[in-house]
C-alpha cells in the first residue's frame, strides 16, 4: 500500500507525456492521437483509482495522510518544497477526476467530427475522414488539461496547486478558442483567461501573503495547517487603508477566495463561463463539470482551515463567502430560466450549483461542500456530454435535411434569422432549444441519460445523488440558523428544478420543431457509452452520503463519506459538525425539487409548438427579458472596466510617444537652440572637456550629424549635452569640492 501511495506523483504524468507525444510526433495521425490520449487517461485512472481505493480501505487513513517531497527550491536560508500528498479530500478527487477525464476522452474521440463552420474544400483530408482538422491538437490540449487537474489534485502545497491551476487556465483558453475561426470563440477565450486572471492575481497576492505571514514561512499544506500557525495568523492584525485593522487570516482568506470566484465563476467574475460554451462540448464537460470550475471549490476545501480559524476571530470572511455563494446560486438560476442555448442553460446552472458549494464553505459545511462537488461533477458532466450529443444529432439532422433538399447552406445566413418576442432565433442553430423538441424518441440513450442527469441536478428525492448532497447543504444552513442563506438556496433549488424540466421539455418532449430535430440520429457508441457509465454514478453517488439522522434510510446505509473525511478534519484541527435532523429543510428540499419539476412540466411538458414563444416570457415580461439579457452585466463591464483599460492604455501610449518625446525632449531642445551660438561652443566644451578620454565620441558626433538632418536628433544631442552639463554643475562640483 505504501508503495502505491509513493507513486502518486506519477498520476499527472501520463497525460503530459501524451500531450508532448501528440504535439511532437502524432500531429498528423488522428487515430493514434486519440488512442494515445485515451491510453494515458486510462493509466492515470487506474493509478488514481488504485490510490483512492487504497486510502478508502485503509484504517485511520485520515489520521495519517501522505505528504512527500520531490524536490525543493532554495529561498534564502529556507526551501520551497514541491511534492505530493494523499489525504481523504484529494483521494475522493482522485476517484472522480481521472474517471471523468477518461470518459470525456473517449467521448471526445467520437465527438470531434468535422465542424460545420469550416469549409470542406479548405480541409479535404480532414473532411474525408469526417474529423476536425485539428483533431490531434484537441487531443493534446485535453491531455494537458488533464495534467493540470490531476497535478492540482495531488499537490502538497498551495504554490504547486496554483501552478497547475494556471496550466488549466491556459488549456481552457486554448480549448474555448479551439475553433478560433469563429470570432465569438476567440473573444470568449480571451475573456475567460483575462477574467479568471483577475481572480488569479488576487489569489497570488493571498498566496504570497500567506507565505510571508506563516511561521515557518511555507506553503505546504501540512505545515500551514498546524494549530500554532493558524492561531498565529488569526491573532495578528494588519492595518489596511480603507478597511482599518483586520486579521491576517481574514485578509488572506478573502484574497484566496477571490481566486475561487474567478475560477468557479462566482459573481461578479462569472461572465466568462457562459461564453466559454464556444468551445467544443467535451471541453465544456471538462471545464464546467469535472475539473476546472470545481478546482475553485476544491481550493476552498483545501484552504478550509483558514476559513474555519478566521471564523473564530471574526465572522466577516465566512459571511462574505456565504453571501457570494448564495447570491450567485440564485442570480445564475434566474438567468438560466431565460436562456435558449442548451449549453448556456447548463453553464448558468453550473454557476448556480458552484454557488451552492461556495455557500456551504461559507457556512462551515466542509463535508457537504466536497460531497456536492463530487456528485455535481458526475451529473453535470453527464448533462454536458448529453447536450453535446444532442447538438451533434441536431447538426447531423440539419445536414441530412440540406443534402436532401436544396444546397444553399452557407450562402446567406440572414434568411434563417428570426426576431422573436423571446429573443432572436437562428433557425439553423443546433444549440438553440427552440429548434429541438421530441428528441427522446430519436435519441433514446442520450435522452434518458440526460433525464437522469437532469433529475439529479434538480435534486429528485431519494434516488438521485443531487438530492442527498443538496439536502445536506440545506440542512446545514437550517441547523446553523443561516436563515437568509437557506431561503435563498431553497428558492434557487426551485428554479433549478424548473429550468431543468424546461430544458428536458423543450429538447426531448413534444414534437420536433425543425428539420434538424426531426432528422437527428442517435450518436455513436463512443459517445453514448460514457453517458451510460456516468449516469450510474449520477444516481448512486449520493448513496454514500446519507446522513445517519435521516428517517428510515439513515444508519441503514452508512454515511461513508462523512466517516472517511471526519478523522482528517480532526487531524487538521477542525471540528466536524452534524446538523440535527429537522423536517423543515427536508420538506423544503423535497417540495422545491418536486414543485419545480412539476411547474416546469406544466409549462413545457409538451414542448413548444412551432413558432410559439416562451409562456414564461409572456407572463414575466421585462423581468424575463432582464434574465434573458443576463442583467446586462456584460454591457456594464464593457462600458466601464474594459473601456477604461483601453482608454488608459491609449492615453499612456500617446503620452509615451508624443508627450515625453516630442514635447518634453524636443521642447528642451528648442530652449537649447535659443541659446544660439553658444550651443556649438558648449557642445565642444562638453565633449572635449569631459569625454575626450573616450576618443571615438567625437567621431560619433560627426557621424550623427551626417546621418540625420531632420533637426530632431540634433535637439536630442543638445538635450543630452544639456543634461550632462546640469549634472556636472549640480553634482560633481560639490563632490570635488568636498574631496578637495
Amino acid at each position: 500500500m505504501e508503495g502505491l501511495f509513493s507513486v502518486t506523483w506519477v498520476v499527472p504524468i501520463p497525460p503530459f507525456l501524451a500531450f508532448l507525444a501528440i504535439l511532437l510526433f502524432l500531429n498528423k495521425n488522428k487515430r493514434g492521437s486519440a488512442l494515445t490520449a485515451i491510453g494515458s487517461a486510462l493509466i492515470s485512472c487506474v493509478l488514481g483509482w488504485g490510490i483512492a481505493f487504497a486510502s478508502f480501505f485503509r484504517d485511520h487513513f485520515g489520521d495519517h495522510p501522505v505528504d512527500e517531497a520531490i524536490y525543493a527550491i532554495p529561498t534564502g536560508a529556507t526551501e520551497l518544497v514541491i511534492g505530493y500528498a494523499v489525504d481523504p479530500a484529494n483521494a475522493l478527487m482522485l476517484f472522480m477526476v481521472p474517471f471523468l477525464v477518461l470518459m470525456i476522452f473517449i467521448y471526445s474521440s467520437g465527438y470531434m467530427s468535422f465542424p460545420h463552420h469550416l469549409k470542406a474544400e479548405q480541409y479535404p483530408t480532414a473532411y474525408a475522414q469526417g474529423k476536425d482538422p485539428r483533431y490531434s491538437r484537441f487531443m493534446a490540449y485535453i491531455c494537458l488539461f488533464a495534467t493540470g487537474m490531476l497535478g492540482l489534485v495531488v499537490a502538497n502545497n498551495l504554490l504547486q496547486f496554483f501552478v497547475f491551476w494556471e496550466v488549466m487556465g491556459l488549456c481552457s483558453y486554448l480549448l474555448i478558442g479551439f475553433w478560433y475561426e469563429k470570432a465569438s470563440a476567440r473573444a470568449a477565450a480571451v475573456k475567460a483567461f483575462i477574467t479568471t486572471r483577475i481572480g488569479d492575481a488576487l489569489l497570488m497576492i493571498g498566496l504570497i501573503l500567506l507565505y510571508v505571514r506563516s511561521e515557518p514561512s511555507t506553503l505546504r499544506f501540512s505545515e500551514l495547517f498546524t494549530k500554532t500557525n493558524l492561531d498565529q495568523l488569526a491573532q495578528t492584525l494588519v492595518d489596511l487603508p480603507l478597511f482599518g485593522e483586520v486579521h491576517w487570516i481574514s485578509l488572506i482568506g478573502v484574497l484566496i477566495f477571490c481566486g475561487a470566484i474567478g475560477k468557479s465563476a462566482q459573481f461578479p467574475l462569472h461572465i466568462w463561463l457562459p461564453d466559454a460554451m464556444e468551445g467544443p462540448t467535451p471541453v465544456s464537460a471538462m471545464i464546467h463539470a469535472a475539473t476546472m470550475v470545481s478546482a475553485g471549490v476544491f481550493l476552498l476545501v483545501r484552504m478550509f482551515p483558514i476559513y474555519e480559524f478566521s471564523g473564530k476571530v471574526s465572522g466577516e470572511t465566512l459571511q462574505f463567502v456565504a453571501f457570494i455563494g448564495a447570491f450567485t446560486a440564485l442570480f445564475a438560476a434566474t438567468i438560466a430560466v431565460a436562456q435558449w442555448d442548451i449549453k448556456r442553460v447548463l453553464a448558468y446552472s453550473t454557476i448556480s450549483q458552484l454557488g451552492y458549494m461556495v455557500a456551504a464553505i461559507g457556512m462551515g459545511a466542509y463535508v457537504a461542500a466536497l460531497f456536492h462537488l463530487l456528485t455535481h461533477a458526475f451529473f453535470k458532466a453527464l448533462l454536458f456530454l448529453g447536450s453535446g450529443s444532442v447538438i451533434h444529432g441536431v447538426e447531423h439532422g440539419y445536414h441530412h435535411a440540406h443534402e436532401h433538399a436544396h444546397d444553399d447552406h452557407g450562402d446567406s445566413h440572414a434568411e434563417y434569422i428570426v426576431p422573436r418576442a423571446d429573443g432572436v432565433l437562428d433557425t439553423e442553430d443546433a444549440q438553440d432549444m427552440r429548434n429541438m423538441g421530441g428528441l427522446l424518441s430519436r435519441m433514446p440513450r442520450t435522452g434518458w441519460t440526460f433525464i437522469i442527469g437532469g433529475l439529479a441536478l434538480s435534486g429528485f428525492p431519494l434516488f438521485t445523488s443531487g438530492f442527498w448532497s443538496k439536502d445536506e447543504i440545506l440542512a446545514f444552513a437550517w441547523d446553523g440558523n443561516h436563515q437568509w442563506v437557506f431561503w435563498t438556496l431553497a428558492l434557487s433549488a426551485f428554479l433549478t428544478a424548473f429550468y431543468t424540466m424546461r430544458q428536458i421539455g423543450l429538447t426531448f418532449l413534444g414534437r420536433a420543431r425543425t428539420e434538424g430535430a426531426s432528422h437527428a440520429p442517435e450518436s455513436v457508441a463512443s459517445m453514448t457509452t460514457p453517458l451510460i457509465l456516468i449516469s450510474i454514478f449520477a444516481i448512486a453517488g449520493g448513496w454514500f452520503g446519507i446522513p445517519e439522522a435521516f428517517p428510515v434510510l439513515g444508519g441503514a446505509v452508512p454515511n461513508w463519506i462523512a466517516h472517511f473525511l471526519e478523522p482528517y478534519m480532526k487531524y487538521m484541527h477542525l471540528y466536524p459538525h452534524h446538523p440535527d435532523f429537522n423536517f423543515v429543510p427536508l420538506a423544503v428540499s423535497i417540495v422545491v425539487a418536486l414543485g419545480g419539476l412539476a411547474a416546469g412540466y406544466l409549462v413545457y411538458g409538451q414542448g413548444l409548438k412551432e413558432g410559439q414563444t416562451d409562456p414564461v416570457a409572456r407572463i414575466l415580461g421585462p423581468i424575463w427579458w432582464m434574465w434573458h439579457r443576463k442583467y446586462w452585466i456584460d454591457e456594464l463591464y464593457n462600458g466601464t472596466i474594459v473601456l477604461i483599460t483601453m482608454w488608459l492604455s491609449r492615453f499612456l501610449a500617446l503620452f509615451d510617444r508624443e508627450w515625453i518625446i516630442d514635447w518634453v525632449v524636443n521642447g528642451v531642445g528648442r530652449v537649447a537652440i535659443r541659446i544660439g551660438d553658444l550651443t556649438s561652443a558648449f557642445d565642444r566644451f562638453v565633449v572635449d572637456g569631459f569625454v575626450d578620454g573616450v576618443g571615438w565620441i567625437s567621431d560619433q558626433a560627426g557621424h550623427i550629424a551626417r546621418l540625420l538632418q531632420d533637426g530632431r536628433v540634433q535637439t536630442y544631442l543638445l538635450f543630452g549635452m544639456l543634461i550632462l552639463a546640469v549634472w556636472l554643475f549640480l553634482n560633481v562640483l560639490p563632490m570635488i569640492l568636498t574631496l578637495v
Binding site: 494556471e166 488569479d200 546621418l707 549634472w727 560633481v732
Partner: protein, 532 residues
C-alpha cells in the same frame, strides 16, 4: 597555479575578440565568415557551461579569479572573477550570442564581414562587463558595448535606423557619464578601482549626501540601460529599428548589464543609500511594470509591443532589487522586523527571494524576450511588415511558428510551468514582505500583461481566418515570392528550440538555476549585515 582554471576567464573573455579579428583577417567569403563565426562562438558557450558545473557552490564567493596589473598610473587592475550571479548571466550571453550568430547566418547577406565582426565584439564587451571586478575595466567594457550595437542598428536596422541608433547612443551615453563620475567619486573616497575592495571599504559610509550622489550616479548609468521608467524611451525605437539579432542581444543581455550593475556595485557599496532610496527604486519598478503593460496594449507594431513589454518586465527586476535594497543595513532590517512583526531571518529570506526573483527575471527575460524577438524576426522576414492589423489566421497557416510563439508568449505572461513564473513569484514574494503596497500595485501588471499578450499578439496575429487581402506581399525567408505565410524552416527551428526547451526546463525544475542566484543573494545579504 597553472591549472587551466586559472586562465579560463581570460580565454572566455578574449576568445570573442580573437574571433572578431579572425573574421577580419580570414574572412574571405561570406559563407566562410558565417561558419567561422558560429564555430568560434561555441568555445565561449562551452566555457560558460563548464563554469556552471565547475563553480563550487559549497565554497561560494568569487571564483576563478584573475589579478594582474593593468594601468599602474591609474591604479587600475585586471581583475576578473565570477560568482553565482554572474555565471548564469554569462551562460545567457554566450547562448544568445551563439544563437544570434547562427540565426544571422541565415538572414544577413549584406556587409557580412562587418556584421559578424561587430557581433563578436559585442559578445566580448558583454562578457567583459560580467567578468570585470575592476571599475576601469568594467567601464571600458560597458562603453565598448555601445559601439557595436550602435552600428548594428545604424547599418542593418529598419527605415528609421539612424534616429534610433543615435537616440540609443546618446541616452546610454548620458547614463555612462553619470556612472563615470560616480566611479571617480568612489576612487577618490577609497583609493582603489577594485570593485570588491571598494565595496569592502564602504565609500562615503556615514555621509548620506555623498553616498547618495554616488548612488544616483551609478543609478542613472544603470537605469538608462535597464531601462527604468522614465528613462526608457530610447528602447522602443532602438528595438523596433534594430536587426533581429541586435534586438535579441539588446533585450537579452544588454538590458541586464544595468540590473547586474545594481546588484554587483550599488547594493554592496552603498547600503545606507540603498536603504534610503529603496522606495524610489521599488516605485519606479512597480510603475514600470504597470505603465509598460498598459502602453503595450495600445501598440500596433508587433516589435514595438515586445519592446515595451521589456520595459514592463524589467520593472520586476527593479522591484526585486529595490525591495532587497530596503533592508541592506542592520538598522533597516530591525526597522522592518518591528514594522511587520516578522523575524529577522524571515525578512532576510524575503530579501533573498526578492534578489533571486530579480536575478531570475534577468535570466528568464533574456531567454523569453530573446525568443520573442527571434520570432518577430522570423515573421518579418516573410511579411516585411510588423503591423498587427495586417496579420491574422496564421495559426492554421504556420502551426510550428504558432506553437513556439504560444510558448514564448505565455512564458512572458508568467504562466506557471514556464520559466517566467518563478521570477514573478519570487519577486513578488520578496517585495510583498518588504514593500507591500508597491508590490500590490505591481500586480495590476499581471492582469494587463495577459491583455496584451492574448488580445494584441495571439488574437491579432494567429487567430481567425487567414485573409489574403490584409497583406499581399509575402515572401519565403529566402526572399522569394510566396502566396502567403510560410512556416518556419530548419535553421529557424534550430535557433528557437533551445530557448523553448529552456523555458520548459526552468519552468518545471527551477532549482539548479535558483541555487546559483540564491548563493550570491545570501552572500550579499551576509556581507551588508556584517559590515562594521
Amino acid at each position: 597555479m597553472e591549472s587551466p582554471d586559472s586562465i579560463v576567464l581570460t580565454i572566455l573573455l578574449f576568445w570573442p575578440l580573437v574571433s572578431a579579428l579572425l573574421v577580419i583577417l580570414l574572412g574571405s567569403s561570406d559563407s566562410f565568415i558565417k561558419k567561422l563565426s558560429i564555430w568560434a562562438s561555441l568555445l565561449p558557450l562551452a566555457l560558460s557551461v563548464y563554469l556552471l558545473f565547475a563553480y563550487d557552490s559549497d565554497m561560494g564567493g568569487m571564483q576563478f579569479e584573475q589579478f594582474a596589473k593593468w594601468i599602474p598610473q591609474l591604479n587600475a587592475g585586471y581583475h576578473l572573477g565570477v560568482d553565482g550571479l554572474s555565471i548564469p548571466l554569462i551562460f545567457l550571453t554566450t547562448l544568445l550570442s551563439t544563437l544570434s550568430l547562427y540565426y544571422s547566418a541565415g538572414v544577413i547577406n549584406e556587409r557580412v564581414k562587418e556584421y559578424f565582426f561587430l557581433m563578436h565584439l559585442l559578445e566580448f564587451s558583454m562578457i567583459g562587463v560580467f567578468l570585470a571586478l575592476d571599475y576601469v575595466l568594467f567601464y571600458v567594457f560597458w562603453e565598448i558595448s555601445l559601439v557595436p550595437m550602435y552600428f548594428l542598428i545604424g547599418i542593418w536596422g529598419g527605415e528609421n535606423r539612424g534616429y534610433a541608433a543615435t537616440k540609443f547612443f546618446i541616452y546610454t551615453l548620458v547614463g555612462s557619464v553619470a556612472m563615470l563620475l560616480a566611479i571617480l567619486g568612489v576612487y577618490f573616497a577609497t583609493g582603489t578601482f577594485d570593485i570588491v575592495e571598494a565595496a569592502a571599504a564602504q565609500p562615503f559610509a556615514g555621509n548620506l549626501t555623498l553616498a547618495s550622489l554616488a548612488f544616483w550616479g551609478f543609478f542613472l548609468g544603470f537605469a538608462f540601460k535597464v531601462p527604468s521608467f522614465p528613462f526608457h524611451t530610447w528602447l522602443p525605437d532602438a528595438h523596433t529599428e534594430a536587426p533581429t539579432a541586435g534586438s535579441v542581444i539588446l533585450a537579452g543581455v544588454l538590458l541586464k548589464l544595468g540590473a547586474y550593475g545594481m546588484l554587483r556595485i550599488m547594493l554592496p557599496s552603498f547600503p545606507e543609500a540603498s536603504v534610503y532610496w529603496a522606495t524610489w527604486i521599488v516605485g519606479l519598478g512597480a510603475i514600470a511594470i504597470v505603465y509598460g503593460a498598459f502602453v503595450c496594449v495600445a501598440q500596433t507594431d508587433l516589435k514595438r509591443l515586445i519592446a515595451y513589454s521589456s520595459v514592463s518586465h524589467m520593472g520586476y527586476v527593479m522591484l526585486g532589487i529595490g525591495a532587497a535594497a530596503a533592508v541592506m543595513t542592520p538598522d533597516a532590517l530591525d526597522g522592518a522586523v518591528n514594522r511587520f512583526g516578522l523575524t529577522g531571518e524571515a525578512i532576510q529570506d524575503s530579501a533573498a527571494m526578492a534578489l533571486n526573483g530579480a536575478a531570475l527575471q534577468m535570466f528568464n527575460h533574456g531567454i523569453i524576450t530573446g525568443a520573442l524577438f527571434f520570432l518577430v524576426g522570423i515573421i518579418y522576414e516573410r511579411a516585411h511588415t510588423r503591423d498587427l492589423a495586417r496579420f491574422g489566421g496564421l495559426a492554421t497557416r504556420t502551426p510550428h511558428f504558432y506553437g513556439l510563439m504560444l510558448v514564448a508568449a505565455f512564458a512572458s505572461l508568467g504562466l506557471p510551468g514556464l520559466a517566467g513564473f518563478w521570477a514573478e513569484l519570487f519577486t513578488f514574494r520578496g517585495a510583498f514582505a518588504i514593500m507591500p503596497y508597491w508590490a500590490a500595485f505591481g500586480t495590476i501588471g499581471i492582469v494587463i500583461t495577459a491583455v496584451y499578450i492574448l488580445y494584441r499578439i495571439i488574437q491579432n496575429v494567429f487567430l481567425g481566418e487567414y485573409d489574403p487581402s490584409k497583406h499581399s506581399h509575402w515572401t519565403t525567408v529566402q526572399g522569394e515570392h510566396a502566396d502567403g505565410p510560410t512556416d518556419m524552416v530548419g535553421f529557424e527551428k534550430v535557433t528557437m528550440w533551445p530557448l523553448v526547451a529552456a523555458m520548459f526546463l526552468i519552468g518545471i525544475y527551477p532549482t539548479p538555476l535558483v541555487s546559483y542566484f540564491n548563493q550570491s543573494a545570501r552572500e550579499l545579504l551576509a556581507f551588508v549585515q556584517n559590515l562594521g
